[in-house]
Amino acid sequence: MADVVRVVAADDPLRDLFSPAGELTAEGRSRLGLDAAALRELYRNMVLIRRADQEALNLQRQGELGLWGQFLGQEAIHVGAIAALRTTDWVFPSYREFGMAMIRGVDPADMLTMFRGLSHGPWDPRKYHFAPLAIPVATQVPHAVGFALGCRLKHSDEVVLSTFGDGATSEGDWHEAMNFAGVFKAPVVFLCQNNGWAISVPLSRQTAGSIADRARGYGFPGIRIDGNDVLGVYAAVMAAADRARQGEGPCLIEAVTYRMGAHTSSDDPTRYRTESELEAWNAKDPIARYRAWLEQQGTIDEGTVAAIADAAESAAQAMRARLTAMPTPPPGEAIFGRVYSNPPEPFLREREEFESSLEGS
């Protein structure tokens, strides 16, 4: 067994970028190659998606959305991971990756139609290289592995990002997909957003072991990193993606973060977690931390910070305006229109019956 561990460790490009506690080292930071504009872009994107997230919660509270699941506190993962990929690399998200999709260019108002009861998936995944949100936990992980295997079979250098939460690592599909990825050396980066909670169940009830260490059992490297450091996430995903691109197979990154909000707007976290836990994580806020670092480096000034805040405010208001002005598409097309490529005759008849039953009503 020791040999297996050693082989994997020797082949691990992530390990020396991070301290044993998962902090990006000064050496690792210096190797990122990001100029000041790129560093500011990471900040800007985190601010933009946080403001959109807050606006979505406002919309839910005002009755404009049926449900909202905040990603407050997880912005560094959303932004750092997407920045580390090429736009041609596909992302297979779970259901809390609104920020990732936004950065990929998906219109946030379109995305919110899912939570307004108008759509199950409003963007074309092929246009944004961003798969639909997957609501059944961990079921998207084998899709990512299949896509990555397909990239390998097509001899392309695309890689795939598979994201999921800590709860997903308990699901059979997650283990199956990790195993398939190892066996097929699929070019996939597994990114666990370990936010500590699966609705009301804490990590300690989810697993008795380490998520990152599981990778070894599947024959590839795994590492636990600080998920509230946007540069750490960027570095880890970049290194794992490079390795996958070179044909070296998958990596598992466990990015430790915290779900500052409720599971969704229907949840009440005061029933299962303490205010002090929240305060401790608030002190590690990914945006405040990064801003302090940028200021310390002289990479950002007050004027830029204010301009970014204004831009985020305008974008959030535009999202709200566009969403609330959206018409409700006709029911026949909305519910029958996308089921089949070539709708069979009996299906068309049912649609006709349905549509004529609506006439005059």
Binding site: P125, H143, V145
Partner: protein
């Protein structure tokens, strides 16, 4: 062409699909060097290589799960589930994703899931099941099953050509049924066929029960009773036009399948006939199938499965009704 078994016809159909479209991939448990436990994929890995015909780890959910990703990447996956009773771990992937992905995203998934199904092979538990109703119940899937080597070849071609997902149930007890096949013949998905013309009672069957129904028709003919046998071939979409054309002629119908009668696919067929031909029917629509018990140990399967006698009894009862 010389007569071939259904097993060989499926093998030829897969071979032709691999030849004609470089995006067709075949994978599953033991489908590579072994050629599958029923040898359906025999020789395909040797001919097309390990990148196009390959063994996977033993995990049905991910066999279907990777099919979704491969289809998104431009492939036409033809995964094999080794036995009917082993499809359940993949149920979530099939129902929650394969069936619904197009509706959710607009992206069609050209996946054909091959599943040997049905009993009559003297097997241990989990090897003789008929889970077709679970899938026919799910919108977004097409569900087909051939009863002859020729249909097996052609329906599989149609399934692989289809831009949307198809569950392809292979009646494993009929794998060794032999006939001449015409590989140029086309069988569209969603069209039933009249397997035997008759005028007294319509017997509606699919997959493994078609040959039982044909045997019943032959026996009945000797007693001057005329049965018309309809082979549905496709459960979803369901070709009620062909069924109703027959029932309008016979005014009597019996539906036969191996799956339990309770909530079985026959319930849908019987309800539709009863609704659409209420005024024409001379007798209630009868359903013949498995009992509402888990599939029994092999020594008892002949008592559980529909046979010629049960079909004839149902036909006699329909003719004598009222």
């Amino acid at each position: 062409m010389e007569a071939v078994t259904m097993a060989k016809a499926i093998n030829l159909s897969l071979r032709d699909a691999l030849t004609h479209d470089e995006n067709v991939l075949i994978f599953g448990e033991d489908v590579g060097a072994l050629g599958g436990v029923f040898r359906i994929t025999d020789g395909l890995q040797k001919e097309f290589g390990e990148e196009r015909v390959f063994d996977t780890p033993l995990a049905e959910s991910s066999i279907i799960g990777i099919s979704v990703g491969l289809a998104l990447r431009g492939f036409k996956p033809v995964p094999e589930i080794q036995f009917d009773g082993f499809i359940y771990p993949a149920f979530e992937q099939i129902v929650s994703h394969v069936a619904k992905y197009r509706n959710r995203s607009g992206v069609p998934l050209p996946i054909t899931v091959r599943v040997p199904f049905g009993g009559h092979i003297g097997a241990v538990e989990h090897h003789s099941e008929s889970p077709e109703a679970y899938f026919a119940h799910t919108a977004g899937l097409k569900v087909v099953t051939p009863s002859t080597p020729g249909d097996a070849y052609a329906l599989l071609q149609a399934a692989i050509d289809d831009p949307d997902p198809v569950i392809f149930f292979e009646p494993k007890a009929r794998y060794y049924l032999k006939e001449e096949i015409d590989t140029a013949a086309r069988v569209p998905i969603g069209k039933a066929r009249v397997a035997h013309e008759g005028s007294g009672v319509t017997v509606i069957a699919y997959g493994p029960t078609v040959s039982v129904a044909l045997q019943a028709a032959k026996t009945a003919a000797a007693e001057q009773i005329s049965l018309e046998v309809i082979d549905l071939r496709s459960l979803s979409p369901l070709d009620m036009d062909t069924v109703m054309a027959s029932v309008r002629k016979t005014h009597r119908a019996v539906v036969v399948h191996e799956a339990p009668v309770f909530c079985g696919f026959g319930a849908e067929v019987a309800a539709r006939i009863s609704h659409d031909a209420f005024d024409l029917l001379e007798a209630p629509v009868a359903r013949i199938g498995g009992l509402n018990v888990p599939y029994p140990p092999a020594r008892y399967e002949k008592l559980y499965l529909p046979d010629v006698d049960r079909i004839l009894q149902a036909a006699d009862a329909a003719l004598a009704y009222g």
